[in-house]
C-alpha cells in the first residue's frame, strides 16, 4: 500500500509537470541542410576564382584580375553590353521565346531601377534577335508604361506566346498591365493592351497557358489575378490579401507557389477557382514554411524529379537577423533552397543552394569587397531558374556580386556547384555606383546549345555556354 500511495503521488506530480512542460512546443519549421554547396571543379578553358567561393576581392579589382572575369566550365558566346555604364543597363528577367516561324528571341528589362538606364541610352524592354547567339541583335525596344518600368514583373507564356508585365518599383506604382502577342513574330511584339488592372506592381506570375496574369507586391497585401484570355480586354478576376513577391503557377494553373512577404516564407495557394473561372473565386492557403536564415523570399519555381515534387526557392539580399529585413552586408543570407512539396500540406526543405561568401563565419572577411556593403547589391542571392520543370539537371542562379552560378540538382537533396560565369568588371566612368557586378536576373536557357542567358545590371546581356560536359 505504501508503494501504491507513492505511485499515486508520483503519477499526480508527473501529470502536473507533464502539463507544465507541454506548454513548450518544439520548432515546427524543418531546417535546411545548411552550409555552402561543394565548389565546382573547373575543367580546361576555365579562368576560375582563386580564393573563397563566390568572392571578388579588392585585391582582384586592384590587380586587374576582376577585369578578366571569372569562368568555370563556361565560355562567353555573345553579349549585348555597355562597357562603362553610368546607371544600370540590365534588369531582373531574361525570357526566351521561339515563334511559329522559328524565329528565336530574347527579352530583357534594361534597368534595375527606372530611369537609371536613361543616361546609357537604354530604355524599356529590349527585344533581341537570337538567330546568331554569338551576335545578339537588338531589333526593337518596348516602351509602353509597364515595359519602361516593369521592375521584376516581365514574364512570358511559352504556350500562348504572350509577354506581359506590370508597372512596378520598390514601393508603389499604379499597376498598369501591358500585354503583348509574340506568337507570330517574336521580333515584333504586338501590343494588345495597357490597362490599369494590376493594383500595385512589383513582381508577377503567369499561368503557363497564358490566360491569367498575377500582379504581385511584397509590400502590400494586394495580389491580383487578371484575365488576359482576351488580351484586348484584360479584367480583374480576384484580389486577395496576400503579400506576394514572385509567384510561379503550376502547369495546370491550379496552384500558386508564392515567395511571400510579411514573414510567410514560401506559401502554396489553391487558385483552381481562378483557373476554372468560377464566379467570385475563392483562394485557399494550403501550406507555408519559413526557415531560420530567411531574408526576403524572391521566387519559387516548381519542378518534379523522379516522381517527387519540389520547388526551387531563392531569397534576395542579406539581413542582420532572420526575417529581419535587408541589411548592409548582414550575417544572414537567405540564398537558395530546394523544398520537397510532394505532400503539399507539409513542405520540407531538403537542401540549400549557397556559396561560401554567404556563410556567416565568412562575412567579416569579405565586408570590404567592392559592392559588398550596398544593401541592394552585396554577396547574396537574387534569382534562380531551371531549364525545364520536369527532371531538370541544373539550376542557374544570379548571385549578384558573385555572378551567374550553376548547380547540379539531379539529386535535390545534394546539390553541387558545377560552373560559374562572373563577367569582367570594367571601371565606372562616373562615380555614381561602385564598379562591381550586379547579377540580379532570372536566367533563360537554350538547352539544345547548352546556353544560359542572363543580364548583369552593371553591364547588360550575356550568352554563356556550359563546357566540359557539365550539363
Amino acid at each position: 500500500m505504501k508503494s501504491t500511495a507513492g505511485m499515486a503521488v508520483l503519477a499526480v506530480a508527473m501529470l502536473a509537470l507533464g502539463g507544465c512542460g507541454g506548454a513548450d512546443s518544439g520548432p515546427t519549421t524543418p531546417v535546411g541542410s545548411g552550409g555552402a554547396v561543394p565548389k565546382a571543379v573547373c575543367g580546361p578553358g576555365s579562368n576560375p576564382e582563386s580564393g573563397m567561393q563566390g568572392r571578388v576581392s579588392s585585391e582582384d579589382h586592384a590587380s586587374g584580375r576582376a577585369a578578366e572575369g571569372y569562368t568555370c566550365n563556361t565560355e562567353l558566346v555573345g553579349a549585348y553590353t555597355t562597357s562603362n555604364a553610368i546607371g544600370t543597363v540590365g534588369g531582373f528577367k531574361v525570357e526566351r521565346y521561339i515563334d511559329a516561324q522559328g524565329n528565336e528571341c530574347a527579352y530583357y528589362d534594361s534597368t534595375l531601377l527606372y530611369p537609371t538606364n536613361a543616361l546609357d541610352a537604354e530604355a524599356g524592354v529590349n527585344v533581341m534577335d537570337m538567330t546568331d547567339p554569338a551576335n545578339p541583335q537588338l531589333v526593337t525596344r518596348l516602351l509602353t508604361p509597364a515595359m519602361l518600368t516593369p521592375h521584376e514583373s516581365l514574364v512570358v507564356s511559352q504556350e500562348a506566346g504572350v509577354l506581359a508585365a506590370v508597372t512596378g518599383n520598390p514601393a508603389f506604382y499604379p499597376g498598369i498591365v501591358d500585354v503583348y502577342d509574340i506568337s507570330e513574330d517574336c521580333r515584333s511584339p504586338q501590343l494588345r493592351s495597357s490597362a490599369l488592372v494590376g493594383n500595385l506592381g512589383h513582381e508577377s506570375g503567369l499561368a503557363p497557358d497564358g490566360r491569367t496574369f498575377y500582379s504581385a507586391n511584397p509590400g502590400s497585401p494586394t495580389l491580383v489575378a487578371v484575365d488576359i484570355t482576351q488580351p484586348l480586354f484584360p479584367r480583374q478576376l480576384w484580389t486577395g490579401p496576400y503579400y506576394s513577391h514572385g509567384l510561379s503557377i503550376s502547369n495546370d494553373g491550379n496552384r500558386a507557389y508564392v515567395a511571400a512577404g510579411d514573414g510567410k516564407g514560401f506559401m502554396i495557394l489553391d487558385v483552381s477557382e481562378i483557373q476554372a473561372r468560377v464566379d467570385d473565386p475563392q483562394v485557399y492557403e494550403i501550406a507555408n514554411i519559413t526557415w531560420p536564415n530567411m531574408t526576403i523570399p524572391q521566387n519559387a519555381i516548381p519542378f518534379t524529379r523522379d516522381g517527387k515534387s519540389y520547388v526551387l526557392e531563392i531569397d534576395e539580399y542579406s539581413a542582420s537577423e532572420a526575417d529581419g529585413g535587408v541589411a548592409a552586408h548582414g550575417d544572414v543570407v537567405g540564398a537558395g533552397r530546394i523544398i520537397d512539396i510532394t505532400d503539399e500540406t507539409n513542405p520540407v526543405i531538403v537542401s540549400d543552394l549557397r556559396l561560401d561568401v554567404h556563410e556567416p563565419e565568412n562575412r567579416a572577411e569579405i565586408a570590404g569587397d567592392p559592392g559588398a556593403f550596398l544593401p541592394i547589391q552585396g554577396y547574396a542571392g537574387h534569382y534562380c531558374n531551371i531549364p525545364t520543370r520536369v527532371n531538370p539537371e541544373i539550376a542557374a542562379c544570379s548571385m549578384i556580386v558573385s555572378g551567374l552560378r550553376i548547380f547540379d540538382i539531379r539529386d535535390p537533396a545534394r546539390p553541387k556547384e558545377i560552373a560559374y560565369f562572373n563577367a569582367p568588371v570594367n571601371p565606372r566612368i562616373t562615380p555614381i555606383f561602385e564598379a562591381s557586378n550586379w547579377a540580379m536576373s532570372s536566367p533563360a536557357f537554350a538547352p539544345e546549345r547548352k546556353e544560359i542567358w542572363y543580364t548583369d545590371g552593371y553591364s547588360g546581356f550575356y550568352v554563356v555556354r556550359l563546357t566540359n560536359d557539365v550539363w
Partner: protein, 222 residues
C-alpha cells in the same frame, strides 16, 4: 500507521503537490505574460526612432507633394513613390506611438536614443550625432524653411534639380537612423519597418544620383 492513515497522508501530500503545481503554473503563466508584454513594450530606441523618423518622413512627404506635377515625369514618379511609401510608414509609426501613448513627434531635438544601441557607438555613428547637433534642423539632411521656400519659388529644371539635391541629402541623413533602429529596436515590427526604409531609400538614392547626373549634363539657364 494504519492503511487508512497512510492513504490519508498520501492524499494530503498529493493535494499539496497539485496545489504547488497549480501555483507554479500560474507563476509561470504570469512570467510568460510579463515576458511577452516586455517584448512588445517599446524601448527608448523604438520610441525615438518612431518619433524622429515620423518628423523626417513628414518633411519628405511635404517636399514630394510640391513635385507631383513636375515637368519631368521621372521626378514626378519619384515624388509620387515617396509620398505613397512614406505616408504608409508614417501611418504605421503614428499607430505605434498612439498605442504606446507617446507624442507623435519628439519633445526635444536630443538624439540620445541613438546612444542606446547594443554596441558602443561607432565612429560613423558618433559623427552622425555630432552632425545632428550641428544641424540647424536637428538632423542632417532635413531641409530648412529657407530651402523649402526656395524650392517653392523655382521652376523647371532648377526646381527639379533642387528637389533632387534636397531629397538626396534628406535620404542620406535618414538612412543612418533607420539602419541603427533596424539593428537596435526591441520590437520586431519596428526593426522590419526600419530595414525596409533602408532598402527603399537606398534604391531611391541610386535613382536620384543618376537623375542629378543627367540634369547636370544639361546646360544651366539659371
Amino acid at each position: 500507521m494504519t492503511a487508512a492513515r497512510q492513504v490519508f497522508v498520501a492524499l494530503v501530500v498529493a493535494l499539496l503537490l497539485v496545489v504547488a503545481t497549480v501555483a507554479a503554473l500560474q507563476y509561470r503563466t504570469l512570467h510568460v505574460t510579463r515576458a511577452r508584454l516586455a517584448a512588445v513594450a517599446p524601448s527608448a530606441v523604438d520610441v525615438g526612432f518612431a518619433q524622429f523618423m515620423s518628423l523626417h518622413h513628414q518633411q519628405a512627404v511635404v517636399m514630394a507633394q510640391l513635385m507631383r506635377d513636375d515637368e519631368s515625369s521621372a521626378v514626378a514618379n519619384l515624388a509620387q513613390s515617396i509620398i505613397g511609401a512614406q505616408l504608409l510608414e508614417l501611418g504605421e509609426m503614428r499607430g505605434w506611438l498612439r498605442l504606446w501613448n507617446k507624442p507623435f513627434f519628439p519633445e526635444s531635438r536630443a538624439m540620445s536614443w541613438m546612444l542606446l544601441g547594443d554596441d558602443p557607438p561607432s565612429q560613423a555613428l558618433a559623427q552622425y550625432l555630432l552632425d545632428c547637433e550641428a544641424s540647424p534642423t536637428g538632423m542632417p539632411g532635413l531641409a530648412t524653411d529657407q530651402q523649402l521656400n526656395r524650392l517653392r519659388s523655382l521652376q523647371g529644371l532648377a526646381r527639379s534639380r533642387l528637389f533632387l539635391e534636397l531629397m538626396l541629402a534628406h535620404h542620406e541623413g535618414g538612412i543612418p537612423m533607420a539602419r541603427f533602429a533596424a539593428k537596435n529596436a526591441r520590437i520586431h515590427a519596428v526593426r522590419r519597418v526600419a530595414s525596409n526604409i533602408v532598402l527603399e531609400q537606398t534604391k531611391e538614392v541610386a535613382g536620384i544620383r543618376v537623375m542629378l547626373h543627367a540634369i547636370r549634363l544639361v546646360p544651366s539657364s539659371d
